[in-house]
Amino acid sequence: MKGQMFLIATIIIISGLFFVRMGIRTPEISRQKALLEMSYEKEFFENMQSELENSILFSANEKNEITNNAFDFMNFSRKKSYERGFILKTFFVGIYSNHSANSLLVTTINSMGKEINVSLNFNGNENSKELKDYERWDNSYQFIPGNTYWLNITYDNSTRNLSLETSATKDNYFYYFDLSLVSTNALHKQKIEKKLNLP
């Protein structure tokens, strides 16, 4: 009879330890999994960001295709993000300064997943437009090559002042994008502003 008591006590102890351990482990596993998933999302987000910049850089030899390729890559990465259960939002402004034609082409692209109001102010010339999702908006301005201009952009409760330091002897491409990736775990955001000297 006493031998059976040992066995019963062992079963009770093992069962108790099992449930205690499982109770402790479950939230810890969920937390670790969420952290790993967040790290993966961050890597994926940085990959998209650098490749969006590469889509511009790799197209530098075909000046008229730079914005088209950036737009194409934005749509591609948005589609791929959606397939993975993420929401990618991009607001993009590309400025091509043609020094020989004294013309500056400003292209604004809305890929924010909603309609937004965009205002541009270049050297006192103000334009605004309601941009639908996936819509691009082209504006052309005259400029004197070698001078520095400011382009003020207002969009979706944000404002950005871009400094456009144009070259007197070369064409330039200026770009600004506001990228965000929304997932169930986190929100990843980045704003990039750069200038390229075109060949």
Binding site: L7, T10, N47, N75
Partner: protein
Amino acid sequence: MIQKSLEALICLGLLTVFLILFFGVPLKVPELEKANYKLYTFSTLKIMDKTGKLRDYALEKNTTKIKNEMARLLPYLVNYEVVIYNNTGNVTKVPEILASDIVVVNYLLAGKVGNYSALSIKVFLWGFR
């Protein structure tokens, strides 16, 4: 008396074995394994991208070279296949994978200098233990 001691020893042995197996050996949690492998795989692709090989192989649509390079960089304990996609769909063959535990890793590329091309490298991983 001897019988009681023997029974007590058996129970003590059972308890010891349980404690060692349950607390001593770190248990592999499939969900964590999957998340870890996703990160490993992404890092491998990132390294291959930094060396310039991934872009070349992807533009060549050569998944065999990508797989060989991946095998060289990481000792995989799971099965994996690589498929390349462009804007319209897959540009390399999509394998038929008969598994329920498939994890997908995506790596995007914009081509290379002078050759813009939006591509997605998808690595399918399965067979987690």
